[in-house]
Amino acid sequence: MSSLKVFTNGLLKENPTFVLVLGACPTLAVTTAAFNGIGMGAATTFVLFFSNMLVALLKNYIPDKVRIVAFIVIIATFVTIVDLVMKAFVPDIYKTLGIFIPLIVVNCIILGRAEAFAQKNDVSRAILDGLGMGIGFTLAITILASVRELLGNGTIFNIPIVSENAKTMLIFILPPGAFITYGYLIAIFNQLKAKYNF
């Protein structure tokens, strides 16, 4: 697999949200507004980048039997760093994402990539994979969040799209709307995937 393929793998072929359906918990919970999608995606990408890099670097020094423990320690460290940095410098986003920042620790995308990719590949490929997966996740949840924000609140990125008096479909902001939108987006994505064969 060429380096470019490693990178685009996470964007399309194995998109963590639409194809692997990993990390659905934050995906469903934070996507009420497009800005939340970007914030969550950026935090996850940061963690993926560094955890993949470190796991690939240390793969020969981590005995097999304790590898999951070691991965979790590495991931938890970077999640805590993100948590502290966001709290200090972007308090508004931090407030809306709340509990879902610490919960990145148990986001299966990150442990999944460490286990399935980073520990079997060299550092540069692991970094590319982390970036690809992270950006793929960010794009996917931002699209999901934009659809929900538009249908449920009439705005995208807080910019009004429909007139203020228009009736919006509140259900799309609520949890059931997350499942409905997510389901439709997966269906559309798979249609496109089959048609254009990426």
Partner: protein, 190 residues
């Protein structure tokens, strides 16, 4: 992988020990670096919230906060004279339980303004309390303006389809008013 460390007890302990050491070192460093900015942003948010609900003042109300029965009182003065008091209050009756608001009172107990601090009410329904809905409380005195929704015989227009949130908001304001009259108004009016 030929050169991979074997899973012997010694290797496992050593490897995990070293990884944990390095990682806690990194965390300690980040904690120290971000400690000050975090405190500053929290303090700024606090002052900002007080400013939002009170008339102009020139002291630092966050310096001398009174914490009585779970409510926080920020007394604001202008050239030594008390211009009002912001009360950080809460309710547990929200649709999603607990939420916190800040209410500013003039010295006689009239509500000046209010602001929502921390809430988890339903987006699009209950969280409309953040909008101009709460302005109906402004410049009202709780002795003449009954702090209850109209359905319950009060004077407050409830948010459409969010009576529970509206009731909870009234509950929080009432708690702030009663606490203010009991604990603060007496001492400052003497």
């Amino acid at each position: 992988m030929a050169n991979k460390l074997e899973s012997t007890l010694k290797n496992m302990i050593l490897s995990l020990f070293l990884i944990s050491m390095v990682m806690s070192g990194a965390l300690g460093f980040v904690y120290v670096v971000t400690k000050k900015p975090i405190e500053e942003t929290q303090k700024k948010a606090e002052i900002e919230a007080v400013k939002n609900v009170l008339p102009e003042f020139d002291n630092d109300p966050t310096k001398d906060v009174k914490d009585i029965d779970g409510l926080k009182y920020y007394v604001a003065t202008k050239s030594g004279e008390v211009v009002g008091c912001a009360v950080k209050t809460y309710t547990n009756k929200g649709f999603s339980g607990h939420f916190e608001i800040m209410v500013g009172f003039k010295p006689d107990g009239t509500i000046f303004k209010s602001a929502v601090l921390d809430q988890k009410e339903t987006p699009g329904l209950g969280d409309k309390m953040k909008t101009k809905w709460k302005d109906q409380f402004n410049e009202k005195h709780p002795t003449t303006f009954k702090l209850a929704v109209k359905k319950d015989g009060g004077d407050v227009d409830a948010i459409t389809a969010s009576t529970i949130t509206s009731r909870a908001f009234c509950d929080a304001v009432t708690r702030a008013y009663e606490g203010y009259m009991k604990n603060i108004a007496k001492t400052t009016n003497q």
